[in-house]
């Protein structure tokens, strides 16, 4: 990491010089030497700060396009999720870079679900507000043949698409369904939402929702569906003790044997 090595080395050099000057005036020093030392210390201090903050800025710049995603499908502990939310909120990353990853992450526990919903509705409201403002501006334009009219119409289309994809994405349905589950709603009340989720994103998978549906269909003795949701949930979180312990005996494959084996190794 050449550039950072160089900057850190430079900062270290400045700092060590700074430390040396901080050792204080020797006995022979006069008052004017003290003043000169203090001035020098301040310059060194500022220099070190400048180099270190530049180093941070360059690192941030590099990471703008290359930051690895948060591995949100690997974290289910609510305390860790809360920590991650706080860490990201206070980090130097702009919210848009981590926005969806963080929202997905917060749906991994019922205790942090509200973060997702609040943020989700905030973004939705902001988009709706922007759309309305843009519509008003377009209405006030008298000439439809101008570039301004065309630009604003295109901008409106983009915002409308963004809103539609937000409202039709799996995150929207999953967070709403989980909220209803956490409030103790009946299955009939969430059935329609599940149907819409499957229509919009047939390949969806979510640990909490799959676990809930596995238990529901298992009670209903729907082997096919309970097996489907069990395999999705356990694959997402193979450390879930409850799932590992209660793996049902499916006839078609040895999934239950494999879950028992994992249980024996882990617990």
């Amino acid at each position: 990491m050449g550039i950072f090595d160089k900057l850190s080395k430079y900062a270290e050099e400045i700092k060590s010089e700074f430390e040396q000057t901080r050792e204080g005036p020797d006995e022979k020093n006069t008052g004017s030497d003290d003043k000169a030392n203090n001035k020098e210390k301040k310059v060194m201090d500022k220099g070190a700060d400048f180099v270190l903050s530049s180093s941070q800025k360059i690192a941030n710049k590099l990471l703008e396009k290359h930051r690895p995603e948060i591995s949100y499908s690997d974290i289910y502990d609510p305390e860790i999720i809360k920590y991650m939310i706080d860490a990201v909120e206070s980090s130097e990353f702009t919210k848009s870079e981590l926005y969806f990853e963080l929202l997905y992450l917060s749906t991994n526990s019922y205790q942090t679900l509200d973060y997702c919903l609040t943020k989700f509705y905030d973004v939705q409201a902001e988009l709706e507000r922007n759309i309305q403002e843009l519509k008003n501006e377009i209405d006030n334009l008298s000439d439809e043949e101008t570039f301004e009219y065309e630009n604003k119409t295109n901008e409106l289309k983009d915002l409308a698409n963004e809103l539609a994809s937000l409202q039709n994405g799996s995150l929207f349905y999953i967070s709403k369904i989980l909220k209803k589950i956490s409030e103790g709603s009946k299955f009939e009340d969430i059935e329609e939402l599940i149907h819409m989720l499957e229509e919009n994103e047939p390949d969806w998978e979510h640990y909490l929702l799959d676990k809930f549906l596995f238990k529901h269909y298992f009670k209903k003795q729907d082997v096919q569906k309970s097996k489907l949701h069990f395999s999705k949930a356990i694959k997402l979180n193979p450390l879930d003790k409850d799932l590992l312990q209660n793996a049902p005996q499916f006839n078609e494959n040895d999934l239950s044997n494999r879950t028992m084996e994992i249980y024996d190794i882990i617990y």
């Binding site: 990491m1 550039i3 690192a59 990471l63 860790i80 991650m84 990353f93 694959k235 494959n253």
Partner: protein
Amino acid sequence: MEPENIINLCKDSNEDYYLRTLKSKYVAENSFIDFYKKFEEEASYPDLFGKCVEVNSSQFKDLYNVISEISKLLGIESPRCFIKDSYSYTIESEGLNYPWLELSAKAYNDLSKKEISFLIAKELYHIANNHLYHEIMSEKMFDLINSLPNIPGINIISKFGGDIFFEHKEFQYRQTAFQWFRSACLSADNFALSYIKDLKSSIDAILLTVLNERKMVDQIDLKRYINQIANIETCLNPMATLEKINEVLPYGPYRMLNLLRFYLSENYYKLENNL
């Protein structure tokens, strides 16, 4: 089952995408590969024959048989394998004309048959899936980017902007190459697990290569170890993130989680009944 199907069933879901991104950055591909094949590959031979012991049908026959069996499954020619002196549990694959394996004597002495089979299967998967080719190309690209500032004409850039331009390019390339290789390693782990069909031995084999000490591996609480992922993920500051990007191999806890997930997958089930 056809070798191609085996390879595809084991593939990490991101591997093909990362490889496409990596390949899009290659330049002078044929020249680099030709140079490696014609000149560099052979440079390893004297040390291999002078400092290592070759596995064959009359010495280390157990290893020889395992290598032959897995190579047949993967549809590749059985590569030569050399045992070398080393204080760690390592296995490496090298070469493009005639790929070969290098296994440490410590691994051969201390690991169980299943654990060694896991390591061999993992390495043979790298050979069968052409991972060595892209590893070599990546190294050549790094060399090229690092030598650019000294080439007359191009060095004019460094006169105006220092080395930042070249270091930025190297960072971008390294990020893409390492991301692909981490994914390729997970695919190789998946194949090795499918081949030995023993989760515990697979876990131990990986942990031994990561930690290099059997006593430590025996002490590990796997759940806590995997939960270290959360600690890694919470390191969000830019410097910590750069450190994470700079890792060639996936961190141990991610490899464990990947192994458990693959073990529970439909693909593992298909392979288990066909290998």
